[in-house]
Symmetry: C2
């Protein structure tokens, strides 16, 4: 076969992922040429210290943005898109903060922005949502989209370690960064869920509109008690259609063993997509590492080489709903005396919270009361918890954690 014409890649960023991507392009160039008819060639590299961004972008058939950060990356990506050059990025902060501006620039330039690597590493959830399920009506996505927190929670469950100890271990193994804030607070997962919501529901959700809660306050006791009920604790992002709009949120939640995400342990990512036509599918794999991210980026580059596909306009349901219905696990430490359960049940009843299961266990002078509720508006449940906090027989602050107890319960 004649020498394939080169396809020029302008690479912005040459850190861990950038270097892994450059190596992968070299390694796979023949195969990509076989598939696409053109040979990928890195025609310019912008590092922190050298390279002419304007020249690299101008000479590229595709720009690959792996520099991280938001401001400079945004400028370069906008420049490329407006000039009609497709862009592939792994930058979830960029996409979740400036998505609409980027997609408008792509539309203006008649080109596209791909970002598979920004969510769930090599797990191809972006492509599956945007292509395989392009014709499906997606009702709900649940995702474990942060490998760091999943590793920490898995270790706490497996060894009984405290949050602080499990975090230190994750840092020692390179699964958590020295400053783990972005991961452990749920902010990273929130950015990814915002991106998934855009694809699933055709509705832009700004990162600031995603309600999120991290794992910093989870205790080994929470996990141990819940295990008695057959539940496992994960940091789960949810994007779903609700009665009058959509909701996007991230919380520590308890899952029943039957849920496809319950078995995902360690530094892994997994996403469950629910739709009436398909019931549900689950995609899982390692969270982002250099080679995994590089592979996802190369998949997007190959996609671009085979023809660009603009993202459909955002005209999905407009309203973001914050007060969704959830089931809760509620853990109370109370004086072990008659009438306590009745008073707790009454407070819950006042807010319309109905109880699914109760386990009470005496611990000498105190008792542990574990309640799982039926779904109810979160505002009502949290109001009930405030009522409970005023009760004089309470020995410790109530612990409330959401429970996902519907598998395949598609609205």
């Amino acid at each position: 076969m004649p020498e394939a014409e080169p396809f020029h890649i302008g690479l912005l960023g040459h850190g861990t992922v950038g270097a892994a991507f450059a190596a992968l392009v070299d390694e796979r160039a023949d195969e990509v040429a076989r598939i696409t008819g053109r040979r990928p060639l890195i025609s310019g590299v912008l590092t922190r210290s050298r390279g002419d961004a304007a020249g690299i972008i101008a000479g590229a058939d595709v720009v690959v943005e792996l520099m991280g950060g938001v401001d400079t990356a945004r400028e370069h990506v906008l420049t490329a898109l407006r000039a009609g050059t497709p862009v592939v990025t792994a930058n979830k902060q960029l996409v979740s903060r400036h998505g609409p501006e980027l997609w408008e620039a792509a539309a203006q330039g008649g080109t596209e922005l791909r970002f598979e690597a920004a969510v769930a590493g090599v797990v191809p959830v972006i492509r599956v949502l945007g292509e395989s399920l392009a014709g499906a009506h997606v009702d709900r996505i649940h995702g474990i989209v942060n490998g760091t927190t999943n590793y920490i929670l898995s270790q706490m469950a497996a060894t009984g370690a405290s949050y602080a100890d499990a975090l230190r271990e994750a840092q020692a193994l390179g699964y958590a960064e020295a400053d783990p804030t972005d991961d452990v607070t749920g902010a990273d997962a929130a950015a990814k869920m915002a991106i998934l919501a855009r694809l699933a529901f055709g509705r832009w959700v700004h990162l600031d509109d995603v309600v999120y809660e991290g794992i910093e306050h989870v205790t080994a006791d929470d996990i141990a008690y819940a295990r008695e009920l057959g539940l496992s604790l994960k940091l789960v992002g949810t994007a779903e259609r609700v009665a009058d709009g959509i909701s996007v949120r991230v919380h520590p939640v308890f899952l029943y063993a039957e849920h496809p995400l319950a078995a995902i342990d360690g530094p892994y990512n997994a996403v469950t997509i629910e739709s009436p036509a398909i019931t549900e599918i689950t995609l899982s794999g390692p969270g982002a590492g250099g080679p995994q991210t590089a592979s996802a980026v190369l998949g997007d580059v190959v996609g671009v080489m085979r023809g660009t596909r603009p993202l459909p306009a955002a005209d999905g349901p407009a309203k973001l709903v914050h007060d969704v219905r959830s089931s809760f696990y509620l853990h109370l430490e109370v004086d072990d005396r008659p009438g306590v359960l009745a008073q707790v049940a009454e407070r819950l009843g006042l807010q319309g919270i109905s109880v699914k299961s109760v386990v009470q266990r005496g611990l000498g002078e105190t008792a542990r009361l574990v309640i799982v509720s039926h779904p109810a508006p979160e505002s009502r449940f949290l109001a009930a918890v405030r009522l409970l906090e005023a009760l004089d027989f309470l020995r410790a602050a109530p612990r409330a954690i959401r429970v996902i107890d519907e598998t395949f319960d598609v609205a």
Copy 2:
């Protein structure tokens, strides 16, 4: 927005899947128009009793083949492809028997054949292999690609039922057909693995070249004994690169609990794809049902509407290897007397089989000997089993079942 121009779908076949597809197109036409700019419209339907195939094909922008069977379907698909009309099919028999002819016709017509629904129902393994991983080097695929057999094996494991009883139950629930031959012999899974091998390795594998074995001879005892070793039994298809070529095969195998396929129970499908760049990803979801298959077909139709992408030529590794290396579980019922284990170990050693674990349990006059071997060429292992069959202390025929004991052990 102005009325979108129609995109004409010629529908061949109007059974369960055909009717579900037609209903889904009606339901999702607006959304598809939003995404693609054209409105899908079923412009002709060929049923068993009515319809003019030539006219339907000639008037179509895409032909959707859901008639099943091979000969007539093949004719119609070839006619469409040669005329440059893209075709979407769910027909695994057609693709696995006549793939090269169909792809040649597509190349000749400058169009493409899509067949996501032919493998693993709504689990988007075809698209992930063909697009997300187009630039990756895939080493191995393990798949549970037949929901009927997975349901039967799950029931046997959960209830201790015999194969015959579990099959009857599957038939009563509609998970197995009245004539279950194609499923329970592994033939259906073999056809699907042949298709996956084509995509993963760029090498056409005819169905006749896939070695397969079904689940008809699996006993409840096999499952119960293996559980003591922490193993679960699944019908797994494997397509992998080996030292001097590729191997495609389907067997009942034991999986360790850590393997991503071990937890897939019930009428589900799941596929694990291993590659150095990604470690491994797993895709899972319900096996084919009418709505699931229809959804996968519509995903392909939307793909076609967004631009056709011919399949790259088949020029992967040429050699099909049949004598691969496997680990085995070996179950022997023997007289309980001294020297038995030594004689068994000697026969295995003669064929170069090394033992990973042995459990011996006395049962009165007899003993049960369960051995798990390290990987060795299958021909050597089977030769060792023949040697064992000649031993006079054997009380029943040896039971040998393959074990997948490498997770993430990418060659």
